[in-house]
Amino acid sequence: MTEYNEFYRQLHSESIMLTYKGEINSKMASAIMETVEPRLNLLEPDLRVRKRLYNIFLECIQNIVHHQVSKSSIMDGQPTLVLLTAEEHAYCIRTGNTVSNDLIHELKEWLDVINTLSPDELKISHLKILDRGDFSNRGTAGLGFIDIARRSGQQLRYAFERLNESYSIFSFLVTVPRTHAVR
């Protein structure tokens, strides 16, 4: 019982809203969003923050659905991980999923560019890509990352951990301030 209480205290202190480990297909993505939404409605009184977080989290989850590599399809496969926590001043979204090494260079380049852009530059870039209707260069994740950066007003933090010659784990972290983000 003591062990359980300690475990409960640890989880509670880390303000975990959702943790998930495993492949995320369309059905699971819907289930995750359906789980998060009412929790968010209870926890966050500010509509602006609530909707912002929901949108950002949705983009993160759908990026994973579109681009993850199934654990079972590769050697050294790792499950996808998602962690959503509510801290005093911000929500924190952490994800980890397997990606093909072929994608790393372009993805890294894109995220690094996004992280250098000012709010106005992010907006210009966002509208340009949207208007061009050309998602092929970056894929659907390209616009998704810009949207996440615009909405959160924060740097997109990421890392790649090599699994083998063909695949790596892509870890991603974004925070969503609980006060109105400066744009």
Binding site: A29, R48, K51, E59, Q62, L130
Partner: protein, 133 residues
């Protein structure tokens, strides 16, 4: 001989991830509302595009578009823009097109999204806040 071509309205009920659509060619009232968060929105919006393509070939004198999203994902934004581009293009042929963009009060991001579309299209939107859904 007067030829009158009427299109049946396009009415699509809302789902958890796709919006309510009610496009009425005879009245010129076009409503879209709810959520647009499907993973593959092009599949859903194909039916809307097919209808809109027919409409722009024989439009009414006035087209009033009313948009009120609670959420839409970035994948949907491209589809939404495509429809708005087609309908806005009617202005070039002298047809009156008015677009009203609704957003939940305090949802500044959704208001900004309307401004973004307006900027891309170079068409002024009427922006109207509504009480929280």
């Amino acid at each position: 001989m007067i030829q009158i071509w009427t299109m049946d309205p396009l009415i699509i009920p809302a789902t958890n991830t796709t919006p309510y659509v009610n496009f009425d060619a005879s009245s010129g009232d076009f409503k879209i509302s709810g959520r647009s968060t499907p993973e593959h929105p092009s599949e859903y919006y194909a039916q809307v595009n097919t209808w809109v393509d027919k409409y722009v070939h024989a439009p009414g004198g006035e087209t009033h578009i009313s948009i009120y999203f609670e959420y839409f994902n970035t994948s949907s934004s491209k589809c939404i823009l495509e429809i708005l581009k087609k309908l806005s293009s009617l202005r070039a042929s002298g047809s009156h097109v008015a677009i009203e963009w609704f957003y939940e009060k305090e949802d500044e991001d959704m208001k900004d999204a309307g401004l973004d579309f307006s900027e891309i299209l170079k068409v002024p939107f009427k922006l109207t806040s509504k009480p929280e859904i």
